[in-house]
Amino acid sequence: MSVQLNDDGELQHFLTTEGLEPQLLTRILDTAESFSGVIGKSVKTVPLLRGRTVINLFFESSTRTRTTFELAAKRLSADVLNVGVDTTTTKGESLLDMLHNLQAMQADMFVIRHAQSGAAEYFARHVNPGVAVLNAGDGWHAHPTQAMLDAFTIRQHKGAFEPLRIAIVGDIRHSRVARSQIHAFNGLGAGEIRVVAPNTLLPADVDSLGVQVFNDLSAGLRDVDVVIALRLQRERMQGALLPSEAEFFRHYGLTEARLQTAHPEAIVMHPGPINRGVEIDSALADGPRSVILDQVTNGIAVRMAVMTMVLGVAPDNTRATS
């Protein structure tokens, strides 16, 4: 997994949060914090990636993630090209051909989303030296910028990670977000990470990722400081994994009432887009505990941070603070 680190242990790609040193994870958050000021100011751009080309290569459709990557790149003064790819062209050789063609356009960075686990790592192993790959989601494997923006949001609201109990609720099995969150939060020293789901939505040996496993929602939410609901893909709701949306919501849907066992100041998060009334009740999603919109805003600063770090142009002051 060291393909994302260079010989000095610095990020040259950002593929996964797994195996990263706490200092590096913290540095991502600190760098993001230095950019989060930029967003509030009237001048919203910095010239760190001026003259660089960022290609958003999305094999799966996405509005929010692609948009925040695009905004992040533009605020760093990069040139941005969005390439949407028909998912029928997923054969190995054509993937490589496409990559080589796009590289010929002097791209400095690829932001890649792909339906298959390992796709971003595959690209990272085949790009030219000096070209960075950012994983914007690969299959069920990883979505590291999402996890880091979640960590950023948690730090913003809760401070240090050590005392925190964090519960992730819902479809863990198919979730790249959950996997990246678990690795990131563990790396940052979170006190306890729980996953809460019916057995059909848990991957085999999930405890090996470093989590406590709960089938019962109220037990899983007891005394937690952070509750993260995951998106449940609609196509998974009928058939062999779950009997119905209604039954899922009855047992695993987040509502204010079900949060009674949680810490009184527990925050509620969701990586979006929300299925209201399936994973989470509207009143809770829009209520005072919800930090869901903060997550979206923070996504820009976190992606700016990672984009500058993989190209080795992150502001020096943030490195000094780590």
Binding site: T90, G92, E93, L96, H114, E121, A204
Partner: protein, 418 residues
């Protein structure tokens, strides 16, 4: 036909227990003299095997999807004199004419023999029985499900019964396909990588059903490619009560585990999947205990494109004929089995299963022989692979023994220059 005398080799024959220095004389495709100093024999060709081993040529119970000509020659270079080909070819080997065509291609290659397995059912569809008697007459020593289990248990029973009528063993794939929709062993590695897993139950659910049906059919049944400790336990118990059952293991399952795929290296995308270290140990123990009698290469050469791309989009299977002998000998170095037992698993054991005359050093037996230099190390890399498939999981490994000469049917089909 040429007359060949192999002199002063260490003759190792697991079938008879022979292990001594001596000569072997070959004429008309057969072994005509064996052991000691063969005299009264005028050879056209002499091979000096001093310091080398002379062993029966390997019989590889499963080698697939090959360009027949290139792979038959690559097999010979790897010490394999017989490639047994499952029937899931295109077209499926379910009629004598397809068998004839395959054998014609193999004969023209002048490499290893190719022994075709007939399909148990038409088109491997699992619905109607193939013309097994005709397939046997055309040269198929056994019938096979070709990697696709017959899901209808009644059809399976009838197919086994019918094959047994003609003394044909049936080679089955222990698998429940509805549980097998994944890419890696179900466990921590697959969970970490975000890959759909194949549980051990995919093997045991299929195996358990097939054991029950085999007993009902009172047929000779062989299970191909066991991968798990649970599978070994199930087979071991079943064999206590039904000696007409046997099994093989693919060589890579004795050396690799799912963790080898941890960087999404598609060379380790294999079916059945590489499992964990406990499974690997159980398979090794099963070999030592005789519960598993046969080792095969499960050779599946792929072109580079088929192994390029994200893990789940790549073709499953490993290129394995080049390293079969080296790895079998490594089992001896690892003290898993004796040299005789190791060689038996790739010679006389598959020969007995299929009723072949080869697989042994015996007076009158077919002269399918390999001369091996046990102290001639080589590295497995893209240059040393003879197979067209570069998808070897063992690239970078070093092996201690090299094949010097391979004889098939008394003909020298491979010779490694000094």
């Amino acid at each position: 036909m040429s007359r060949i005398l192999i002199r002063n080799g260490r003759l190792i024959d697991p079938a008879s227990g022979l292990d001594e220095l001596g000569d072997i004389a070959v004429a008309d495709g057969r072994i005509v003299g064996l052991g000691g100093n063969v005299s009264d024999f005028t050879p056209d060709t002499q091979i000096d095997a001093k310091g080398q081993w002379v062993i029966p040529g390997l019989i590889d119970l499963a080698a697939r999807k090959a360009d027949i000509a290139s792979e038959a020659r690559a097999a010979a270079a790897g010490g394999i004199t017989t490639l047994v080909m499952p029937p899931d070819t295109d077209p499926v080997m379910d009629t004598p004419s397809v068998i004839d065509w395959v054998q014609h291609r193999a004969d023209a290659a002048k490499g290893a023999r190719v022994v075709p397995l007939g399909a148990l059912t038409h088109g491997n569809q699992g619905t109607t029985l193939s013309s097994m008697a005709a397939l046997a007459a055309a040269g198929c020593p056994a019938m096979s499900d070709g990697g696709t289990p017959i899901s209808d248990s009644l059809v399976l029973r009838r197919a086994l019964e019918y094959a047994h009528t003609f003394s044909l063993p049936s080679l089955l794939t222990p698998l429940d396909q509805s549980l097998a929709g994944g890419f890696l062993h179900e466990g921590p590695t697959a969970t970490r990588l975000g890959l759909a897993g194949v549980p051990v139950a995919a093997e045991t659910a299929g195996l358990g059903r097939q054991i029950a049906v085999a007993k009902a059919a009172a047929a000779r049944v062989h299970f191909g490619r066991l991968s798990s400790a649970e599978g070994v336990r199930l087979l071991s118990a079943a064999r206590n009560d039904n000696r007409a059952l046997s099994a093989d293991v693919a060589i890579h399952h004795l050396f690799l585990t799912d963790q080898d795929a941890m960087d999404y290296d598609a060379r380790f995308h294999i079916n059945p999947p590489l499992r964990d270290i406990v499974d690997r140990q159980a398979l090794r123990q099963a070999l030592a205990d005789g519960v598993i009698e046969v080792i095969c290469s499960d050779h599946q050469p792929h072109d580079t494109d088929a192994k390029a791309g994200p893990f789940a989009s790549t073709a499953a299977g490993a290129s394995a004929i080049d390293t079969l002998l080296g790895l079998v000998l490594r089992l001896v170095e690892d003290e898993v089995v004796s040299l005789s037992a190791a060689l038996a698993s790739v010679t006389i054991a598959p020969a007995r299963l299929l009723g072949l005359e080869s697989g042994q050093l015996a007076q009158g037996a077919p002269a399918d022989l390999v001369v091996v230099d046990p102290h001639s190390p080589w590295f497995c890399n893209a240059q040393t692979l003879n197979s067209r498939g570069a998808n070897s999981p063992f690239i970078g490994w070093e092996f201690s023994a090299r094949v010097c000469h391979t004889l098939v049917d008394g003909r020298l089909v491979h010779h490694t220059p000094e």
